[in-house]
Symmetry: C2
Subunit: 415 residues, 2 copies
């Protein structure tokens, strides 16, 4: 099945918002084996919308549309699709009930034009919206399918995942199943090099790498007649790859470094505390993004000045004088200090030079020390994170925080 994605909205055309819907839909479709050949964006303009839809229907079997399902006169997606398929519009009573209930629940007044959102092309399959008023829908004619989804990502994404994916899967008699291997500490080209023969020789499951912000993810995807068979195909391959790559693999299907860390802390009933200089709260912010982190995160100290390093964290004046604040020794004393101060099981620290100012020939921008310290484990990493790119400061801080999280995961193995 060949698909394309057509997003409707003037705010996209103006660049006021980034089109995350297209990426989300594309990723979800790829994950179930549907090929996307084109993506397009068109404004809330009837004739150009019509033109774009008719082009999409002429070259694809499935058109996934987002946006233009709102209550106002310029929301035209549904009507344009009905016209293309020569379908009359009719009131869909369950949707009207759901919209009315939504307004009652959120304590807002329903206006007359909201009723428009409950009108559907005759014969449409309706997808419920649990996070807003506009239902989604699918229509089909002569083997051509159009799926229509609301524009706001917080409505579109759950609807896509919970309702559209099962609908599309039901059209096929094979299942596609993926597991993701999360890697930190090895670059994409090195991973590819180590797994080249795997990626070329394996067609089922396939092995596809994806690099992002200093990490590499390997998606292992099998197609089979049912989930059990797909699992049986995937499991040995995931096992072999993990053996081959060793301890740069920090988890399977764990989502992110911070999630892997928090889950491990919860499992082992351990607490963590952070002492940050150049990342200035980014490590603690990432850890506490995870719901439930309050059970495992004790405290964080952002010690920009040497006074705080000494006074709150207990870094010795001598260390600061002899080695400066950007040094292995200071990182070590910061991690120990925050652990002592907080009573946490693991102390993690980051100190370095994020730039753009502050670098010297001996200690250039991008030099960062990261330490994790707990009973039975203490390690400092010296990192050189400058890549000469734009947003250097942001990149250095992000990579430094990722290294701190990854080192804490390794420390936990010992505890």
């Amino acid at each position: 099945m060949i698909a394309e994605i057509l997003c409707v909205g003037t705010e996209l055309l103006l660049g006021d918002i980034v089109n995350t819907n297209a990426a989300y839909a594309a990723r979800e479709l790829a994950a179930i084996g549907i090929n996307v050949y084109f993506q397009s964006v068109v404004g809330d303009n009837p004739s150009r919308l019509k033109q774009a839809l008719s082009l999409a229907l002429s070259r694809s079997d499935l058109v996934v549309m987002t946006g233009g399902l709102g209550p106002t006169y310029d929301d035209l997606t549904k009507e344009t699709v009905a016209e293309a398929f020569s379908l009359p519009m009719e009131l869909h009573q369950p949707s009207l009930n759901a919209i009315t209930a939504y307004f009652n629940r959120t304590g807002r007044v329903m206006t007359h034009n909201n009723e428009k959102q409950a009108w559907m092309p005759k014969g449409a399959r309706v997808f419920q919206n649990n996070y807003g008023t506009a239902p989604g829908l699918a229509v089909e004619q002569n083997g051509k399918r159009v799926v229509l989804l609301p524009g706001p990502p917080r409505e579109m994404e759950p609807m896509f995942h919970e309702e559209v994916i099962p609908y599309l899967k039901s059209l096929s008699d094979t299942v596609l199943l993926s597991h993701v291997i999360h890697i930190f500490g090895m670059g994409e080209s090195m991973v590819e090099d180590k797994l080249k023969s795997y990626m070329l020789s394996h067609l089922n499951p396939t092995v596809a790498p994806y690099a992002k912000e200093g990490e590499v993810q390997l998606r292992v995807t099998a197609s089979a007649k049912d989930v059990e068979e797909a699992e049986q195909r995937i499991r040995p391959v995931v096992g072999e790859i993990c053996d081959l790559l060793g301890d740069v693999v920090y988890g399977i299907d764990v989502g992110s470094l911070q999630n892997a860390l928090v889950q491990k802390l919860l499992e082992k009933n351990r607490k963590i505390a952070t002492a940050e200089s150049c990342t200035a709260g980014l490590v603690s912010k990432r850890i506490t993004e995870i719901a439930g982190s309050s059970q495992v995160f004790e405290c964080g100290i952002v010690s920009y000045s040497n006074r705080i390093k000494a006074q709150v964290l207990g870094v010795s004046e001598q260390t600061l004088e002899q080695y400066t604040e950007v040094s292995e020794q200071t990182a070590r004393e910061m991690a120990r200090g925050v652990r002592r101060l907080s009573g946490a099981d693991i102390g993690v620290s980051v100190t370095g030079i994020a730039g753009p100012g502050g670098g010297t020939p001996e200690k250039p921008v991008g030099l960062v020390y990261v330490c994790a310290s707990c009973d039975g484990f203490e390690e400092v990493l010296e990192l050189h994170l400058s890549r000469g790119r734009r947003n250097e400061r942001e990149n250095i801080r992000y990579l430094a925080s990722s290294n701190a999280l990854a080192l804490a995961i390794r420390a936990l193995e010992v505890l």
Copy 2:
């Protein structure tokens, strides 16, 4: 001039990356008055790329393309455009020199296929790439123009801003100039309501609102024969709007709350320190995003546990017991405590319930107290930030941090 944006790359079609290039180019084009009617994405596939380009040229005067300028055989954008315009390819010696110099500078080895990046359609205008190897270019024929840019945003964005915008401006004899009014603490619909007559009656300058993550920005744009005249048109309108909206305006062209805060701190030579509970480092992380913040940011304490609130920040046991950690009193003592601890001029604190767990009927998820304290100013805000949306935890934390930054800006007015 009618434009469209055509982005080339299989990683976009697969949803592996979000198409920020399209949004960036659209925003830059809109800012100089060029209308974008379509955006499309196509993979690294010769026949579909050709098809997409010929469609774009049939309906637009200007096609902005990104991606497919790399050194490998599947990078085909330039060749496809040359074919569409029936132009031969020729070696562009200055580009070859620049590419060679780039490899020498970054200490990497230049391979033979990098030379491909220096071949251009005959007569092309070449844009230099200061952040990578692929030059950009523009070709023109019979009033149709195609601009080709490299795919990586860190290369594409500076090239667009520094070279493509001046090129496109040179095609027109009017200039467009914008100033942005930054607003925090008033919703988009309220802003629109107050300025409705402005937005409708003013055609030059135009006034356009844009809401994002709890903030509203108003873009005031004038078209004129030169910059001076445009400034003269804009200035009185910006002044009137600021008077009308009052102190919810936190700056003109300041970029963000954190930038406005850091610039004000630098101006006044004052220092700030943060004490965070539910935001857990997000406030300090945002402040220290700004280059130069190390001169004004003293320290941050992330006090998740009550023990740290008492021990490090000096919040009294009695306050914690009587009012709990999520209370006006605790927020106040946290702000005072971190100020005392650090010696900073302003202490800012955040304490609240970000969820999903931890809420009670009296203190529900979304209840947040924010305090700023300095000589002559101390204020606590009680915020109710739950909106019943997905990513509730992230939203609550972000809005809480924005409120803390905005309150610190207000405190600075007094200092």
